[in-house]
């Protein structure tokens, strides 16, 4: 799997994690009144776990990093916007170039970075 493909799959994983986090928050149902199909939560969890296994197998170090960062910040990957990390809002060193050829992390907070056009 190329780094680009890995990164794209990693934020698909993060989207699934954010979705599960959202619907399992009791405030969510209380504030919106929206009904959640409990059986389908299991379906999303299965999708999430399948994707996680694939990513873990392809690059266990980056996958473990994602899980650790998620525990610390609630997310493991973030976008670079205007040469700034959108997790800690610290400007990245000018030597850091936009890339999808390798996995880059923020030198300040350690989160995995992605440049999206």
């Amino acid at each position: 799997m190329s780094s680009r493909e890995y990164l794209h799959k990693l934020y698909l994983l993060q989207d699934l994690d954010l979705l599960l986090q959202q619907v399992e928050d009791p405030e969510y149902t209380a504030k919106t009144g929206l009904e959640i199909n409990e059986e389908r939560i299991e379906l999303i969890k299965q999708r999430r776990d399948e994707l996680a296994r694939e990513l873990q197998k392809a690059d266990p170090i980056t996958y473990e990093m994602y899980e650790k960062l998620k525990k610390r910040y609630g997310r493991g990957i973030t976008r670079v916007v205007d040469d700034m990390c959108t997790n800690c809002f610290v400007a990245l060193p000018s030597s850091m170039m936009k890339t999808e050829d390798r996995i880059e992390t923020c030198p300040n907070c350690g989160i995995i970075l992605i440049w999206l056009d």
């Binding site: 954010l18 979705l19 969510y28 504030k31 919106t32 009904e35 990957i77 999206l116």
Partner: protein, 152 residues
């Protein structure tokens, strides 16, 4: 807060979509994102729909998600004169869409508060009976929404 999220350039007055997928793509298109970002957002919105339709009934839907592709909490409003099949709770087609997207690191309270406000506005609009779809300008639609926000 809803007032701050409503923008005339984030309104579709006459949606062409006939299906849920088309409706979500049409709403996402308003955000002028790259094709990559559009696809990411579309997938996130569809994943949420798997858990139960955000069509709350009475012709209104509130598709929503957190997503890495936006820089700020973002609302797009769409109106469909003909209605869109959206697997709504009451099986009725949807005429009014509120699509809310928050960044992954937006404080939960801000996102949920906005979602809650939209749900209350939706219920207030639904309470009136038939939903208006005859807006001649984005401003007219925004004013209509804000009238219902004022009622709370």
């Amino acid at each position: 807060m809803i007032k701050d999220l409503l923008r005339e350039d984030r309104v579709v007055l006459d949606m062409k979509a006939k299906t849920k997928e088309e409706a979500l793509r049409e709403l996402v298109d308003v955000l002028n994102l790259s094709e990559d970002k559009k696809e990411i957002l579309f997938k996130a919105l569809m994943q949420r729909e798997v858990l139960g339709s955000t069509g709350i009934g009475k012709g209104i839907a509130i598709p929503h998600s957190r997503s890495i592709v936006v820089d700020n909490i973002t609302l797009v409003v769409g109106v469909s004169k003909e209605g869109v099949e959206f697997d709504s709770l009451d099986g009725k087609p949807v005429h009014l869409f509120f699509m809310l997207i928050a960044t992954p690191n937006d404080p939960s309270m801000k996102y949920l508060t906005a979602l809650g406000s939209i749900a209350r506005i939706s219920r207030s609009i639904a309470h009136e009976g038939e939903i208006r779809t005859d807006f001649s300008s984005p401003k007219e639609l925004i004013d209509y929404i804000l009238e219902h926000a004022d009622e709370q």
